[in-house]
Amino acid sequence: MNAITDESRAVLARGVRLRADPLTGEPLLLFPEGILPLDESTHDILLRCNGELSFAGIVRALSEEYEAEPEVLRADVAACLTQLREEMLVAW
């Protein structure tokens, strides 16, 4: 499994859908036989996994949104995406 780099373009894996819970509004990932409720920061990351932004671009966008230094966010975003990739919910 190749590690994430600045150029990696993460997207939702095939068959994975991001949607709001129709009853609670809570963000969810839906995939075969599975439902994963998302915390706010994971949701913010996944909203940007649209194939247009590179990993560096996602970190930059989030740093603007949160008014935080990119270097502070970088490791957390990488860890989050790597974990989701191991679970085959995102791909790059």
């Binding site: 068959g15 859908r17 949607r19 129709p22 009853l23 839906l30 995939f31 075969p32 679970e87 085959m88």
Partner: protein, 363 residues
């Protein structure tokens, strides 16, 4: 407590071109015609309104329904994640294109073994090659693929080869489900129950391969509860997260609930799905912990395994309201252990193959 269903299993028909002896469909099919297209469409919309997120389209073989793309489209438009659970017999390029256009999210294909001769013998039909072709077409059409193999005495020794087949087919998920003994499988349990040695070897292979394929293929391996001390948390509790609608429209807390003869299951033909889920006697019969007998009522695991499986209690103890006999605390466990021990050395009897309903009343 306000219960919400998350997953609807829609058993669209009992018709099936395969005759697998491990099938959990009932051995006595309910009377009545299959639900019509319009009836199923109402079920999907009402399910979405109740909070259901996933719809599994199953059977029997759901591809036997000519209106399948129409049903998928309705479920999809209602916001449901749609998963086709199929033998793949009848899954060709035209059908795949129709299902894609209808919004189908994923496809699960069953295999009976890794090689043709064994697979066809288990299925009671010459379908293995058809499945291989259909699985490749499924990938080519851009669907995520789950391969499902029900494990039993006759195929579990080939687990490494079965995993290799799923890998070759580029499945994202592989469900290795040890046979659950209900319906036809219960009739065939002496032929199907693996030995203790087979389970141990299979578990080791699954663990090793899961590690090797991490990030490429998710492997689920469910150990059989006949070999466990603790019962499974069946359906995550009765009427708690899941509902099944069978081909005749009866709504069940689990696909095999008709094993419980004293319960009457209401039909979507007579009631709204929401009423059946929240109010019907069958859905409330084993909800929560109030119904529990001893030792469940005072057990520290009562909210973890929910007393196990009600159908198994009915089948093995003759009473759906007692502790699941798979539990070491059940007074019926000794009888189950006797059966398990006898299976260690017995020659397996021949399969009694699954039969279709004697006639197929179409909607």
């Amino acid at each position: 407590m306000n219960y919400r269903p998350y997953l609807l299993l829609a058993e669209l028909t009992y018709r099936c071109p395969l005759h697998c002896p491990y099938c959990s469909n009932p051995t006595r099919y309910p009377d009545g015609r299959e639900l019509t297209t319009a009836e199923w469409q109402r079920v999907f919309r009402e399910a979405a309104d109740l909070g259901v997120l996933h719809a599994g389209l199953s059977g029997g073989e759901p591809l036997q329904r000519a209106d399948l793309p129409e049903l998928v489209a309705t479920a999809h438009e209602a916001g449901l994640y749609t998963n086709l659970i199929t033998s793949a017999v009848g899954l060709n390029e035209t059908r795949l294109a129709q299902l894609k256009a209808a919004g189908l999210d994923s496809i699960q294909i069953s295999f009976q073994a890794d090689e043709e001769f064994a697979a066809n013998r288990i299925a009671g039909a010459a379908t293995h090659r058809v499945k291989l072709t259909a699985a490749r077409l499924t990938r080519a059409a851009g669907f995520p693929l789950t391969v499902n193999v029900v494990l039993h005495r006759d195929n579990i020794d080939r687990l490494a080869q079965i995993i290799a087949l799923a890998e070759e087919l580029e499945a994202e998920r592989l469900e290795l489900a040890n046979t659950q003994f209900y319906g036809w499988a219960f009739r065939n349990r002496a032929a199907l129950l693996p030995t203790r040695g087979q389970i141990a070897a299979g578990s080791a292979v699954a663990a090793r391969e899961r590690k090797r394929l991490r990030g490429r293929m998710r492997i689920l391996f469910v150990t059989p509860d006949y070999y466990s001390d603790r019962p499974k948390p069946c359906m995550d509790g009765w009427g708690r997260r899941y509902l099944t609608v069978n081909p005749a429209g009866e709504v069940l807390p689990c696909p095999t609930a008709k094993e419980i003869k004293e319960l009457r299951f209401d039909s979507v033909r007579d009631h709204a799905l929401g009423w059946i889920w929240h109010e019907s006697p069958a859905f409330n019969r084993f909800r929560g912990t109030e119904w529990m007998p001893l030792p469940c009522r005072e057990c520290e695991f009562r909210e973890i395994d929910f007393g196990g499986c009600r159908c198994q209690a009915a089948l093995l103890a003759g009473d759906a309201s007692v502790t699941d006999p798979a539990c070491s605390l059940s007074p019926y466990r000794a009888r189950l252990t006797e059966f398990v021990e006898a299976a260690q050395n017995n020659a397996a009897p021949d399969f009694e193959y699954r039969q279709n309903p004697p006639f197929h009343p179409l909607p």
